[in-house]
């Protein structure tokens, strides 16, 4: 952790209120995000218990599995979830704009621009915390290999029609969330933690309620007091006033409220099955409905505080202006969404269980580029983030005190002016170290020449000065200019071309082979999902 953010945390403790870590918002926020607050059954892998979902904060859809061990009820939940999520995704699929994409010609290996469609905007999913992102991934994994009755008439337990499709989308969103700076699927806690330093540890910051308490404490209360209440306060019934943001539930809720309610539901269902006549059945159906409604009421009470908290978090984030380069990163997200839309339309199979060697390497290289781009972009967009890089010796700001014209020693001399800069920063420079500044939105390169007395240093400007003997107007700093230079590059270089998966070399096990089409998970009567 950089000393600047350490200091921010300490100030937060002292002032009783979270302190800003940024001056702008570094993630794009959709005007109409879909918020998804799921709960899961303790001890079961991927047995959802319930969820609130929707893009209208005033009207969330409540989905509940009254008996999580019942496969039919789980399928009903997933089918309802698909009906809540897929129309939201579909709404973005058809609004497209023309765009260019660079493609590598398989014959010549040359990069060419091709016309393509790009979705004008992309759907954005917000979950309360990181565990929510993992749960989206888990749900995606559990659904995407399911077979519907239409796909496989012999499937013993066919999944509802749109469930496998939702699985593929959830998988795509969860995978995209691993790309640094991507914003298709975000956790509210991550968003808040990127922009504010609370007065507690980063572990405690994973608690959405406590984190919000620091950022936006109630009138007359310190962040610490409000956070403690969010963590621990229980009502007369022994239940947490601020339930966990899920997907895990509080054991006290499970044991004291949920378990008895599920048991009543089971009994009511059994009673209904053994009803001997229509009249009794009607009566018992009422009992079952009451039991189910009670579970819905209990889960709604657990979910609503988190639902409200996520929207509150979005409100707070919207108060920050969006950083310039966040928009460019959102464009990558739109490409990601468009690409997956196209793969589904083309009838490609669901994503495999595990990546092959080439796919894994490609993803890692892309993510490393995204990470470097994100770090550079956030610093360039935000003086407060840049301050951290300056403290770390990775950037420096200073005033130009002298500019000396100079040229290369060649037949056609090019300008290589020397710029003397006074700075209080202590960058890690050695002779020849390349440094960069932003000039008309593009990076200009210089190299470090030498130190001069009294905190001055000399740079030689290397490019972006035009083709003439004298530098183009405005391309060389003037005396008195205050400029921030970075030791990191602003843009990433082209990635190497990896082989096609069919050409995987012997060092990596050779081609993965064709017989690797993914099979659905085997089903047993006691399966959970």
């Amino acid at each position: 952790m950089s000393l600047i953010s350490t200091l921010a945390r300490l100030e937060a403790v002292e002032s009783g209120r979270a302190q800003p870590l940024t001056t702008v918002r570094h993630r794009h926020l959709s005007e109409r995000p879909l918020v998804f607050v799921p709960l899961t059954t303790a001890g079961e892998a991927g047995a959802p218990l319930g969820a609130l979902v929707g893009s209208d904060r005033a009207a969330p859809t409540l989905l509940v599995v009254p008996q999580p061990r019942d496969r039919d009820l789980r399928f009903t939940f997933l089918a309802d979830l698909a009906e809540a999520v897929l129309p939201y995704l579909d709404a973005y699929a058809d609004d497209v704009e023309p765009a260019e994409r660079s493609e590598t010609d398989p014959e010549t290996g040359k990069k060419t621009k091709v016309e393509a469609e790009l979705c004008a905007d992309a759907p954005q999913l917000i979950v309360p915390g990181r565990a929510g992102i993992d749960f989206v991934r888990l749900l995606g994994r559990s659904m995407r290999f399911r077979r519907t009755a239409e796909q496989d008439p012999d499937a013993p337990y066919p999944a509802p029609p749109r469930v496998p499709l939702l699985g593929r989308w959830f998988t795509h969103y969860a995978e995209r969330a691993r790309t640094p700076g991507a914003a298709l699927l975000l956790a509210a806690t991550d968003l808040l933690n990127r922009h504010w330093a609370s007065g507690q540890s980063s572990l405690e910051d994973q608690h959405l309620g406590a984190l919000l308490a620091w950022i936006d404490p109630p009138e007359g209360e310190s962040g610490a007091e409000a956070a403690l209440r969010a963590e621990l306060a229980r009502g007369a019934d022994g239940q947490l006033l601020c339930p966990p943001a899920g997907p895990a539930t509080d054991p006290a809720f499970d044991n004291r409220l949920l378990a008895p309610a599920v048991e009543r539901y089971d009994r009511a269902r059994q009673a209904l099955q053994t009803a001997e006549d229509g009249l009794a059945a009607d009566e018992r159906l009422v009992q079952l409905t009451i039991a189910e409604r009670e579970i819905r009421r209990l889960l709604a009470a657990q979910l609503m505080p988190t639902w409200t908290a996520v929207w509150r978090a979005l409100d707070l984030l919207r108060e920050l202006p969006e950083g310039e380069r966040a928009a460019a990163r959102w464009t990558s997200d739109r490409w990601s969404f468009t690409g997956h839309r196209d793969r589904i339309a083309a009838g490609e199979p669901p994503q495999p269980r595990r990546d092959d060697a080439v796919t894994a390497a490609t993803k890692l290289l892309r993510r490393e580029r995204a990470q470097a781009e994100l770090e550079a972009g956030e610093a360039l967009d935000d003086p407060l983030v840049m301050a951290g890089r300056r403290l770390a010796g990775e950037a420096f700001a200073g005033e130009v005190v002298e500019v000396t014209p100079a040229w290369t020693e060649s037949k056609r001399p090019s300008p290589r002016p020397l710029v003397t800069l006074r700075t209080d920063d202590a960058p890690h420079l050695a002779e020849g170290t390349k440094v960069y500044r932003t000039l008309d939105g593009k990076p200009q390169k210089a190299e470090f020449v030498t130190y001069e007395p009294e905190g001055a240093l000399v740079l030689r400007i290397l490019d972006k000065m035009g083709r003439a003997k004298d530098p183009a107007p405005g391309s060389v700093p003037d005396k008195g200019d205050r400029i921030c230079w970075t030791l990191f590059e602003h843009e990433q270089r082209g990635a190497p071309k990896l082989p096609d998966p069919e050409a995987t070399p012997w060092t990596h096990g050779g081609p993965p082979g064709s017989g690797t089409a993914e099979q659905p998970d085997p089903l047993t009567p006691e399966d959970l999902l």
């Binding site: 952790m1 600047i4 200091l7 403790v13 800003p20 892998a45 991927g46 405690e204 949920l258 085997p522």
Partner: protein
């Protein structure tokens, strides 16, 4: 009131080996949850959901059902090393009176099975290990004796292995817990001809989204060496106790919350936020650390760049130029950080 130290608690000691408070209370078998309640700092959620509990029991029963056929098949498949498949493994009766009796019965069963040179499955054996001068009794889910005299610890957990991967923090905890069993088994093996203890254990979990068992072999050599070293240096509980003022007890009955709290305070603690998930007293210790303004209350890593400055007040005073020697690189760095932050528009208040 006192509860014997179990493997989970022993493994959890590794989460904060420098904390004497935890070492003493765990070693003395104090119910820390009840203690926390009594001194007015109950923990957030250390209970277990009955859904998880039922699921865990049902899974273990399924794995061990039918005389452990499926468990032995998995073990042979993963770590059989070319041996005969276990057909009729013996499943010795380990029942005896009290933990000492059960531990003796287990040792006998291990010796007999090793001498017999065939497969044997010991269901919930009892192992004894001396920890900080007091005996701890440990109960692994199962131990399998191979025909060649190897003993393998089997740990059954109800978190899933999905596509051959599982939650790394849960696997890590299982590995540390298993290492304690391996250590205890080694003491018995050293007294048994022809016996050796596997330094890999078998972790059995539900496969994907089913309740069918699958298994993975985990190399616990690292955890073993850490546990070994920590157990030998775990200050003897009597030594910690000897350093306390006379008359201190943690008897929950007949003692006021206040006097209990001062007893707790008499034992030095090392609080870090990781304690919140590992120790029932953590909220109490956090409260004290916050009162003292300790920077470590915000995370162990916070101190990395703060050198000799250990309280929030000291750091902020140094940052504002109110105290501290500017020649101290820490003081210079926090001042520089404060200046850069102010330059970017957030003045240090």
């Amino acid at each position: 009131m006192a509860r014997p130290l179990d493997a989970r608690a022993l493994a959890a000691l590794a989460a904060n080996p420098g904390c004497r408070r935890r070492a003493l209370l765990d070693g003395a078998g104090v119910d820390k949850g009840a203690l926390a309640e009594a001194i007015g700092s109950p923990s957030a959620a250390f209970g277990q959901s009955q859904f998880a509990f039922m699921r865990g029991n049902a899974f273990e029963a399924k794995v061990k059902g039918d005389g452990g056929t499926e468990l032995l098949r998995l073990l042979h498949e993963r770590m059989g090393a070319g041996s005969e498949p276990p057909g009729d493994a013996t499943a010795p009766d380990l029942a005896a009176a009290g933990p000492e009796g059960r531990a003796a019965r287990t040792a006998l069963a291990l010796r007999e099975a090793t001498a017999a040179g065939s497969w044997a499955l010991l269901d919930h054996p009892m192992l004894a290990l001396e920890v900080a001068g007091s005996p701890a009794y440990l109960e692994p889910d199962a131990v399998v004796v191979h025909p060649d005299g190897r003993w393998t610890v089997v740990e059954i957990k109800s978190f899933p292995m999905i596509d051959a991967a599982a939650d790394p923090s849960k696997v890590g905890a299982a590995a540390r817990q298993s290492a304690v069993y391996v250590l205890a088994l080694e003491r018995v093996a050293s007294l048994t001809d022809g016996a050796s203890v596997d330094h890999s254990v078998l972790l059995v979990c539900p496969k994907d989204f089913s309740n069918l068992p699958t298994a993975s072999v985990i190399d616990v050599r690292k955890q073993l060496s850490v546990t070994r070293r920590q157990l030998t240096r775990l200050a003897r509980i009597e030594d910690i106790a000897d350093g306390l003022p006379p008359g201190i007890t943690f008897d929950l009955d007949g003692q006021s919350g206040e006097s209990l709290a001062s007893a707790v305070e008499a034992v030095p603690a090392v609080y870090a936020p990781e304690c919140l998930a590992a120790c029932e007293l953590a909220f109490h210790c956090r409260g004290r650390a916050r009162e003292e303004g300790a920077v470590t209350a915000l995370g162990r890593a916070m101190r990395g760049e703060l050198g000799g400055l250990t309280t929030i007040g000291e750091v902020l005073a140094a940052a504002r130029g109110e105290s501290g020697d500017p020649a101290d690189p820490t003081v210079a760095a926090v001042r520089r950080a404060a200046a850069l932050r102010a330059e970017a528009g957030v003045p240090c208040r």
